[in-house]
Protein backbone atom coordinates (compact mmCIF):
# COMPACT_ATOMS: atom_id res chain seq x y z
CA UNK A 1 0.00 0.00 0.00
CA UNK A 2 1.70 3.20 -1.05
CA UNK A 3 0.90 6.53 0.55
CA UNK A 4 -1.96 7.45 2.83
CA UNK A 5 -5.35 5.84 2.27
CA UNK A 6 -7.86 8.22 0.65
CA UNK A 7 -10.92 9.08 2.72
CA UNK A 8 -14.22 10.23 1.26
CA UNK A 9 -16.41 12.16 3.65
CA UNK A 10 -20.11 11.77 2.93
CA UNK A 11 -22.16 14.45 4.57
CA UNK A 12 -25.64 15.92 4.16
CA UNK A 13 -28.59 16.94 6.23
CA UNK A 14 -30.88 14.53 8.08
CA UNK A 15 -32.99 12.55 5.65
CA UNK A 16 -31.19 13.91 2.60
CA UNK A 17 -30.47 10.44 1.28
CA UNK A 18 -26.85 9.78 2.26
CA UNK A 19 -27.41 6.12 3.03
CA UNK A 20 -29.52 5.52 -0.08
CA UNK A 21 -26.82 7.07 -2.24
CA UNK A 22 -24.12 5.05 -0.53
CA UNK A 23 -26.07 1.82 -0.84
CA UNK A 24 -26.34 2.38 -4.58
CA UNK A 25 -22.68 3.22 -4.96
CA UNK A 26 -21.47 0.24 -2.94
CA UNK A 27 -22.89 -2.12 -5.54
CA UNK A 28 -20.31 -0.79 -7.99
CA UNK A 29 -17.20 -2.98 -8.22
CA UNK A 30 -15.08 0.18 -8.00
CA UNK A 31 -16.30 0.61 -4.43
CA UNK A 32 -15.83 -2.99 -3.41
CA UNK A 33 -12.51 -2.28 -1.76
CA UNK A 34 -13.85 0.51 0.43
CA UNK A 35 -14.24 0.36 4.17
CA UNK A 36 -17.32 2.23 5.38
CA UNK A 37 -17.62 4.00 8.72
CA UNK A 38 -21.09 5.15 9.74
CA UNK A 39 -22.34 7.15 12.68
CA UNK A 40 -25.62 5.41 12.96
CA UNK A 41 -27.07 2.33 11.36
CA UNK A 42 -30.08 3.95 9.76
CA UNK A 43 -33.33 2.37 8.78
CA UNK A 44 -31.87 1.51 5.41
CA UNK A 45 -29.51 -1.37 5.92
CA UNK A 46 -26.14 -1.23 4.27
CA UNK A 47 -24.96 -4.59 3.14
CA UNK A 48 -21.24 -4.25 2.87
CA UNK A 49 -18.34 -6.46 3.76
CA UNK A 50 -16.51 -3.90 5.82
CA UNK A 51 -18.91 -1.69 7.72
CA UNK A 52 -18.19 -0.24 11.13
CA UNK A 53 -20.02 2.01 13.51
CA UNK A 54 -18.48 5.06 15.13
CA UNK A 55 -20.00 6.58 18.24
CA UNK A 56 -20.06 10.33 18.54
CA UNK A 57 -17.57 11.78 20.92
CA UNK A 58 -15.54 14.89 20.51
CA UNK A 59 -12.18 15.32 22.12
CA UNK A 60 -10.48 18.66 22.25
CA UNK A 61 -6.75 18.11 22.01
CA UNK A 62 -4.85 19.96 24.66
CA UNK A 63 -2.43 21.67 22.37
CA UNK A 64 -3.75 25.11 23.09
CA UNK A 65 -5.07 25.40 19.60
CA UNK A 66 -8.70 26.26 18.93
CA UNK A 67 -8.66 24.39 15.66
CA UNK A 68 -7.77 21.03 17.17
CA UNK A 69 -11.18 19.49 17.41
CA UNK A 70 -10.60 15.79 17.10
CA UNK A 71 -13.31 13.24 17.27
CA UNK A 72 -11.68 10.63 19.42
CA UNK A 73 -13.93 7.75 18.42
CA UNK A 74 -13.43 8.45 14.75
CA UNK A 75 -9.67 8.52 15.20
CA UNK A 76 -9.81 5.25 17.18
CA UNK A 77 -11.98 3.60 14.55
CA UNK A 78 -9.69 4.67 11.73
CA UNK A 79 -6.54 3.57 13.52
CA UNK A 80 -8.09 0.25 14.47
CA UNK A 81 -9.07 -0.34 10.83
CA UNK A 82 -5.56 0.49 9.71
CA UNK A 83 -3.98 -1.94 12.21
CA UNK A 84 -6.36 -4.75 11.37
CA UNK A 85 -5.73 -4.28 7.68
CA UNK A 86 -1.99 -4.44 8.30
CA UNK A 87 -2.46 -7.70 10.23
CA UNK A 88 -4.79 -9.13 7.62
CA UNK A 89 -7.70 -9.37 10.06
CA UNK A 90 -10.12 -7.48 7.81
CA UNK A 91 -10.57 -7.61 4.05
CA UNK A 92 -8.07 -5.40 2.31
CA UNK A 93 -9.46 -1.92 1.60
CA UNK A 94 -7.91 0.81 -0.45
CA UNK A 95 -10.22 3.65 0.55
CA UNK A 96 -12.53 4.65 3.37
CA UNK A 97 -15.97 6.24 3.18
CA UNK A 98 -17.15 8.03 6.32
CA UNK A 99 -20.85 8.74 6.51
CA UNK A 100 -21.25 11.56 9.00
CA UNK A 101 -24.27 12.23 11.13
CA UNK A 102 -26.84 14.47 9.46
CA UNK A 103 -26.72 17.24 12.01
CA UNK A 104 -22.98 17.58 11.91
CA UNK A 105 -20.71 20.23 10.67
CA UNK A 106 -18.13 18.28 8.60
CA UNK A 107 -15.28 20.25 10.13
CA UNK A 108 -14.47 18.01 13.15
CA UNK A 109 -14.22 14.92 10.96
CA UNK A 110 -11.96 16.74 8.46
CA UNK A 111 -9.92 18.11 11.32
CA UNK A 112 -9.53 14.62 12.80
CA UNK A 113 -8.14 13.19 9.58
CA UNK A 114 -5.76 16.06 9.08
CA UNK A 115 -4.74 16.98 12.62
CA UNK A 116 -4.57 13.76 14.56
CA UNK A 117 -0.85 12.99 14.74
CA UNK A 118 -1.23 9.30 13.90
CA UNK A 119 -4.33 9.31 11.71
CA UNK A 120 -2.81 11.92 9.42
CA UNK A 121 0.15 9.69 8.62
CA UNK A 122 -2.09 6.87 7.38
CA UNK A 123 -5.03 8.67 5.79
CA UNK A 124 -5.75 11.72 3.69
CA UNK A 125 -8.98 13.48 2.75
CA UNK A 126 -9.78 12.72 -0.88
CA UNK A 127 -13.01 14.66 -1.12
CA UNK A 128 -16.18 15.80 0.61
CA UNK A 129 -19.49 14.70 -0.91
CA UNK A 130 -22.68 16.37 0.29
CA UNK A 131 -26.21 15.16 -0.43
CA UNK A 132 -28.81 17.88 -0.83
CA UNK A 133 -32.48 17.07 -0.60
CA UNK A 134 -34.24 18.91 -3.44
CA UNK A 135 -37.50 19.07 -1.49
CA UNK A 136 -36.37 20.12 1.98
CA UNK A 137 -33.01 21.76 1.41
CA UNK A 138 -34.30 25.32 0.78
CA UNK A 139 -35.97 25.40 4.21
CA UNK A 140 -33.00 23.70 5.89
CA UNK A 141 -30.52 26.11 4.34
CA UNK A 142 -32.63 29.06 5.43
CA UNK A 143 -32.70 27.99 9.06
CA UNK A 144 -29.79 25.66 9.78
CA UNK A 145 -26.21 26.80 9.59
CA UNK A 146 -24.95 23.18 9.57
CA UNK A 147 -26.74 22.62 6.27
CA UNK A 148 -24.89 25.58 4.75
CA UNK A 149 -21.57 24.44 6.19
CA UNK A 150 -22.09 21.03 4.60
CA UNK A 151 -22.79 22.64 1.22
CA UNK A 152 -19.83 24.97 1.61
CA UNK A 153 -17.40 22.17 2.43
CA UNK A 154 -18.44 20.03 -0.56
CA UNK A 155 -16.32 19.10 -3.54
CA UNK A 156 -19.29 17.24 -4.99
CA UNK A 157 -22.95 18.11 -4.39
CA UNK A 158 -25.43 15.32 -5.04
CA UNK A 159 -29.02 16.45 -5.48
CA UNK A 160 -31.49 13.86 -4.18
CA UNK A 161 -35.29 13.51 -4.45
CA UNK A 162 -35.37 15.63 -7.61
CA UNK A 163 -38.34 13.59 -8.83
CA UNK A 164 -40.39 14.95 -5.92
CA UNK A 165 -39.45 18.62 -6.30
CA UNK A 166 -41.30 21.08 -8.51
CA UNK A 167 -39.23 22.36 -11.46
CA UNK A 168 -39.23 26.02 -10.37
CA UNK A 169 -38.08 25.10 -6.89
CA UNK A 170 -35.35 22.88 -8.32
CA UNK A 171 -34.08 25.68 -10.57
CA UNK A 172 -33.98 28.11 -7.64
CA UNK A 173 -32.13 25.52 -5.55
CA UNK A 174 -29.56 24.98 -8.33
CA UNK A 175 -28.96 28.73 -8.46
CA UNK A 176 -28.62 29.00 -4.69
CA UNK A 177 -26.17 26.08 -4.51
CA UNK A 178 -24.07 27.62 -7.27
CA UNK A 179 -24.12 30.89 -5.38
CA UNK A 180 -22.99 29.29 -2.11
CA UNK A 181 -20.43 26.90 -3.54
CA UNK A 182 -19.53 27.54 -7.18
CA UNK A 183 -16.40 25.41 -6.86
CA UNK A 184 -18.32 22.18 -6.28
CA UNK A 185 -19.56 19.90 -9.01
CA UNK A 186 -23.32 19.44 -8.94
CA UNK A 187 -24.92 16.17 -10.06
CA UNK A 188 -28.25 14.45 -9.53
CA UNK A 189 -28.36 11.33 -7.40
CA UNK A 190 -30.07 9.28 -10.09
CA UNK A 191 -27.07 9.93 -12.37
CA UNK A 192 -24.46 9.42 -9.66
CA UNK A 193 -21.87 6.75 -10.34
CA UNK A 194 -18.95 5.56 -8.25
CA UNK A 195 -16.56 7.46 -10.50
CA UNK A 196 -18.07 10.78 -9.43
CA UNK A 197 -17.55 9.79 -5.85
CA UNK A 198 -13.99 8.67 -6.35
CA UNK A 199 -12.86 11.70 -8.32
CA UNK A 200 -9.24 12.26 -7.56
CA UNK A 201 -7.73 15.23 -5.85
CA UNK A 202 -6.44 16.88 -8.99
CA UNK A 203 -9.96 17.41 -10.20
CA UNK A 204 -11.01 18.43 -6.74
CA UNK A 205 -8.65 21.37 -6.54
CA UNK A 206 -8.91 22.42 -10.18
CA UNK A 207 -12.47 23.64 -9.88
CA UNK A 208 -11.93 27.28 -9.05
CA UNK A 209 -14.31 29.39 -11.11
CA UNK A 210 -13.25 32.71 -12.58
CA UNK A 211 -14.40 35.91 -10.93
CA UNK A 212 -16.33 36.79 -14.07
CA UNK A 213 -18.40 33.65 -13.68
CA UNK A 214 -19.39 34.82 -10.22
CA UNK A 215 -20.00 38.43 -11.16
CA UNK A 216 -23.74 38.11 -10.70
CA UNK A 217 -23.26 36.70 -7.20
CA UNK A 218 -21.59 38.06 -4.20
CA UNK A 219 -23.75 40.94 -3.12
CA UNK A 220 -24.45 40.59 0.57
CA UNK A 221 -28.08 39.87 1.40
CA UNK A 222 -29.30 39.75 4.97
CA UNK A 223 -31.74 36.94 4.22
CA UNK A 224 -29.04 34.77 2.64
CA UNK A 225 -25.72 35.83 4.12
CA UNK A 226 -23.73 32.81 2.88
CA UNK A 227 -22.21 33.77 -0.45
CA UNK A 228 -19.11 33.18 -2.49
CA UNK A 229 -16.80 35.46 -4.38
CA UNK A 230 -13.48 35.25 -6.17
CA UNK A 231 -10.33 37.31 -5.85
CA UNK A 232 -8.15 37.49 -8.95
CA UNK A 233 -4.59 38.76 -8.72
CA UNK A 234 -2.49 39.31 -11.83
CA UNK A 235 0.90 39.76 -10.18
CA UNK A 236 2.68 36.73 -8.69
CA UNK A 237 2.08 36.35 -4.95
CA UNK A 238 4.65 36.31 -2.22
CA UNK A 239 4.04 33.01 -0.48
CA UNK A 240 5.24 34.21 2.95
CA UNK A 241 2.87 37.15 2.90
CA UNK A 242 -0.04 35.11 1.64
CA UNK A 243 0.49 32.49 4.34
CA UNK A 244 0.60 35.04 7.15
CA UNK A 245 -2.45 36.83 5.81
CA UNK A 246 -4.56 33.69 5.44
CA UNK A 247 -3.47 32.33 8.84
CA UNK A 248 -4.47 35.62 10.45
CA UNK A 249 -7.76 35.80 8.59
CA UNK A 250 -8.70 32.21 9.49
CA UNK A 251 -7.69 32.69 13.10
CA UNK A 252 -10.03 35.66 13.49
CA UNK A 253 -12.85 34.74 11.08
CA UNK A 254 -12.46 31.00 10.37
CA UNK A 255 -15.85 30.22 11.80
CA UNK A 256 -17.44 32.37 9.08
CA UNK A 257 -15.25 31.14 6.23
CA UNK A 258 -16.88 27.92 5.12
CA UNK A 259 -14.40 27.37 2.36
CA UNK A 260 -11.36 28.90 0.77
CA UNK A 261 -10.02 27.48 -2.44
CA UNK A 262 -7.35 28.95 -4.62
CA UNK A 263 -5.04 28.32 -7.51
CA UNK A 264 -2.06 30.55 -6.95
CA UNK A 265 0.66 32.00 -9.07
CA UNK A 266 3.57 32.19 -6.63
CA UNK A 267 6.69 34.28 -7.10
CA UNK A 268 9.53 31.93 -8.07
CA UNK A 269 7.26 28.96 -8.83
CA UNK A 270 6.74 27.77 -12.37
CA UNK A 271 3.71 25.66 -11.64
CA UNK A 272 0.44 26.71 -10.07
CA UNK A 273 -0.08 25.90 -6.39
CA UNK A 274 -3.51 24.85 -5.16
CA UNK A 275 -4.57 25.69 -1.63
CA UNK A 276 -7.83 24.86 -0.03
CA UNK A 277 -9.33 24.79 3.41
CA UNK A 278 -12.52 24.49 5.39
CA UNK A 279 -13.05 26.92 8.24
CA UNK A 280 -9.77 26.99 10.22
CA UNK A 281 -8.30 23.99 8.48
CA UNK A 282 -5.93 24.34 5.55
CA UNK A 283 -4.89 21.28 3.60
CA UNK A 284 -1.31 20.87 2.50
CA UNK A 285 -0.80 22.88 -0.70
CA UNK A 286 -0.55 20.89 -3.92
CA UNK A 287 1.60 21.70 -6.96
CA UNK A 288 -0.44 21.32 -10.12
CA UNK A 289 0.96 20.26 -13.46
CA UNK A 290 -0.75 22.96 -15.51
CA UNK A 291 -2.76 26.15 -15.36
CA UNK A 292 -6.43 25.17 -15.50
CA UNK A 293 -7.36 27.55 -18.31
CA UNK A 294 -3.90 28.54 -19.44
CA UNK A 295 -4.00 31.88 -17.60
CA UNK A 296 -1.17 32.50 -15.17
CA UNK A 297 -2.91 34.36 -12.41
CA UNK A 298 -3.99 33.73 -8.84
CA UNK A 299 -7.64 33.02 -8.29
CA UNK A 300 -9.09 32.46 -4.83
CA UNK A 301 -12.71 31.62 -4.13
CA UNK A 302 -14.13 32.28 -0.67
CA UNK A 303 -17.42 30.98 0.72
CA UNK A 304 -18.25 33.26 3.60
CA UNK A 305 -21.03 33.82 6.07
CA UNK A 306 -21.80 37.50 6.52
CA UNK A 307 -18.30 38.81 5.80
CA UNK A 308 -17.83 41.82 3.57
CA UNK A 309 -16.19 40.72 0.30
CA UNK A 310 -14.77 44.15 -0.43
CA UNK A 311 -13.09 44.27 2.93
CA UNK A 312 -11.45 40.86 2.44
CA UNK A 313 -10.06 42.11 -0.85
CA UNK A 314 -8.91 45.42 0.65
CA UNK A 315 -7.19 43.54 3.46
CA UNK A 316 -5.47 41.20 1.02
CA UNK A 317 -4.23 44.08 -1.15
CA UNK A 318 -2.94 45.96 1.89
CA UNK A 319 -0.99 42.88 3.03
CA UNK A 320 0.45 42.38 -0.44
CA UNK A 321 1.61 45.99 -0.62
CA UNK A 322 3.07 45.82 2.89
CA UNK A 323 4.95 42.63 2.10
CA UNK A 324 6.50 44.21 -0.99
CA UNK A 325 7.76 47.15 1.07
CA UNK A 326 9.03 45.05 3.98
CA UNK A 327 10.57 42.20 2.01
CA UNK A 328 12.26 44.39 -0.59
CA UNK A 329 13.82 46.38 2.25
CA UNK A 330 14.95 43.14 3.88
CA UNK A 331 16.42 41.83 0.64
CA UNK A 332 18.38 45.06 0.22
CA UNK A 333 19.77 44.88 3.77
Amino acid sequence: MSGPTPVHLLTGFLGSGKTTLLRGLLTDPAMASAAVLVNEFGEIGLDHELLERVDETVVLMKSGCVCCTVRGELADAMLSLHSRRARGEVPFFERVVIETTGMADPYPALSTIQSHPVVRSHYRVANVVTTVDAVNAPAQMATRLEALRQVGAADLLVLTKTDLADPDGAAALHARLAEINPSARLIEAREAVAEDFLAQDAERVLRVPAAAALAHHGAFRAEAPVTSFALEIETPLDWTAFGLWLAMLLHRHGEHIFRVKGILCIEGEERPVAVHGVQRLVHAPVHLERWPDGRRLSRIVFIVNGLDHGRIEASFRAFEALSQRVLSRQAAA
Binding site: S63, C65, S115, E269, R280, L307, I312, A318, V326
Partner: protein, 108 residues
Protein backbone atom coordinates in the same frame (compact mmCIF):
# COMPACT_ATOMS: atom_id res chain seq x y z
CA UNK B 1 -0.87 19.51 16.24
CA UNK B 2 -3.29 21.26 13.94
CA UNK B 3 -3.10 22.23 10.33
CA UNK B 4 -2.24 25.79 11.21
CA UNK B 5 0.56 24.74 13.53
CA UNK B 6 4.17 24.96 12.63
CA UNK B 7 7.45 24.93 14.44
CA UNK B 8 10.20 27.16 13.18
CA UNK B 9 12.92 25.14 11.51
CA UNK B 10 11.14 21.82 11.51
CA UNK B 11 7.51 22.64 11.01
CA UNK B 12 4.88 21.17 8.81
CA UNK B 13 2.81 24.31 8.82
CA UNK B 14 1.00 24.47 5.52
CA UNK B 15 2.75 27.68 4.58
CA UNK B 16 6.12 25.95 4.68
CA UNK B 17 5.22 23.34 2.13
CA UNK B 18 5.66 25.54 -0.91
CA UNK B 19 8.50 27.71 0.16
CA UNK B 20 10.54 24.70 1.05
CA UNK B 21 10.12 21.38 -0.70
CA UNK B 22 10.89 18.48 1.60
CA UNK B 23 9.55 20.34 4.60
CA UNK B 24 8.32 17.10 6.08
CA UNK B 25 11.73 15.53 6.09
CA UNK B 26 13.37 18.31 8.13
CA UNK B 27 16.74 17.74 6.57
CA UNK B 28 16.72 19.47 3.22
CA UNK B 29 18.20 22.78 2.32
CA UNK B 30 18.81 24.45 5.63
CA UNK B 31 19.78 27.75 4.00
CA UNK B 32 16.49 28.34 2.25
CA UNK B 33 14.70 27.28 5.40
CA UNK B 34 16.52 29.95 7.39
CA UNK B 35 15.89 32.53 4.69
CA UNK B 36 12.21 31.76 4.69
CA UNK B 37 12.08 31.99 8.50
CA UNK B 38 13.70 35.41 8.48
CA UNK B 39 11.31 36.72 5.81
CA UNK B 40 8.39 35.43 7.83
CA UNK B 41 9.76 37.09 10.94
CA UNK B 42 10.28 40.44 9.19
CA UNK B 43 6.73 40.48 7.92
CA UNK B 44 5.21 39.28 11.20
CA UNK B 45 7.10 42.05 13.00
CA UNK B 46 5.72 44.68 10.64
CA UNK B 47 2.19 43.47 11.46
CA UNK B 48 2.89 43.21 15.20
CA UNK B 49 4.32 46.73 15.28
CA UNK B 50 0.74 48.03 14.92
CA UNK B 51 0.28 46.97 18.55
CA UNK B 52 3.89 47.66 19.62
CA UNK B 53 4.72 43.98 19.94
CA UNK B 54 7.79 42.27 18.53
CA UNK B 55 8.74 38.76 17.60
CA UNK B 56 12.12 37.08 17.68
CA UNK B 57 13.42 33.59 17.09
CA UNK B 58 14.76 31.55 19.90
CA UNK B 59 17.47 29.10 18.84
CA UNK B 60 15.75 28.58 15.54
CA UNK B 61 13.18 26.43 17.26
CA UNK B 62 10.72 28.71 18.99
CA UNK B 63 9.33 32.19 18.82
CA UNK B 64 9.56 34.82 21.55
CA UNK B 65 6.86 37.45 21.57
CA UNK B 66 7.62 40.62 23.55
CA UNK B 67 5.54 43.58 24.69
CA UNK B 68 6.86 47.14 25.01
CA UNK B 69 6.92 46.71 28.79
CA UNK B 70 9.15 43.68 28.56
CA UNK B 71 6.61 40.88 28.99
CA UNK B 72 7.60 37.85 26.95
CA UNK B 73 5.89 34.72 25.81
CA UNK B 74 7.58 31.72 24.20
CA UNK B 75 5.75 29.37 21.86
CA UNK B 76 6.87 27.01 19.17
CA UNK B 77 4.06 26.96 16.64
CA UNK B 78 3.19 29.65 14.17
CA UNK B 79 -0.51 29.05 14.67
CA UNK B 80 -0.09 30.27 18.23
CA UNK B 81 1.21 33.62 17.06
CA UNK B 82 -2.14 35.39 16.68
CA UNK B 83 -3.81 33.99 19.82
CA UNK B 84 -0.68 34.86 21.84
CA UNK B 85 -0.38 38.30 20.27
CA UNK B 86 -4.03 39.04 20.97
CA UNK B 87 -3.64 37.93 24.57
CA UNK B 88 -0.59 40.14 25.02
CA UNK B 89 -2.07 43.16 23.25
CA UNK B 90 -5.40 42.73 24.99
CA UNK B 91 -7.26 43.21 21.72
CA UNK B 92 -7.83 41.30 18.53
CA UNK B 93 -5.66 41.39 15.42
CA UNK B 94 -8.38 41.60 12.83
CA UNK B 95 -7.18 41.77 9.23
CA UNK B 96 -10.63 43.00 8.17
CA UNK B 97 -10.72 45.90 10.62
CA UNK B 98 -10.48 49.14 8.56
CA UNK B 99 -8.40 50.76 11.29
CA UNK B 100 -5.92 47.86 11.18
CA UNK B 101 -5.78 48.02 7.37
CA UNK B 102 -5.07 51.76 7.63
CA UNK B 103 -2.27 51.10 10.09
CA UNK B 104 -0.53 48.55 7.90
CA UNK B 105 -0.90 50.85 4.89
CA UNK B 106 0.98 53.49 6.88
CA UNK B 107 3.96 51.23 7.60
CA UNK B 108 6.86 52.21 5.37
Amino acid sequence: MCSLCGVLGCDDHWTSAVARPGVYTQNTDRVSRRREASRRLALANALLSTRRLSLAEWQGRSYVLASPTGRTQIFDALSHLWPEAEAMAGRPFDPLDPEFIEKIEAIR
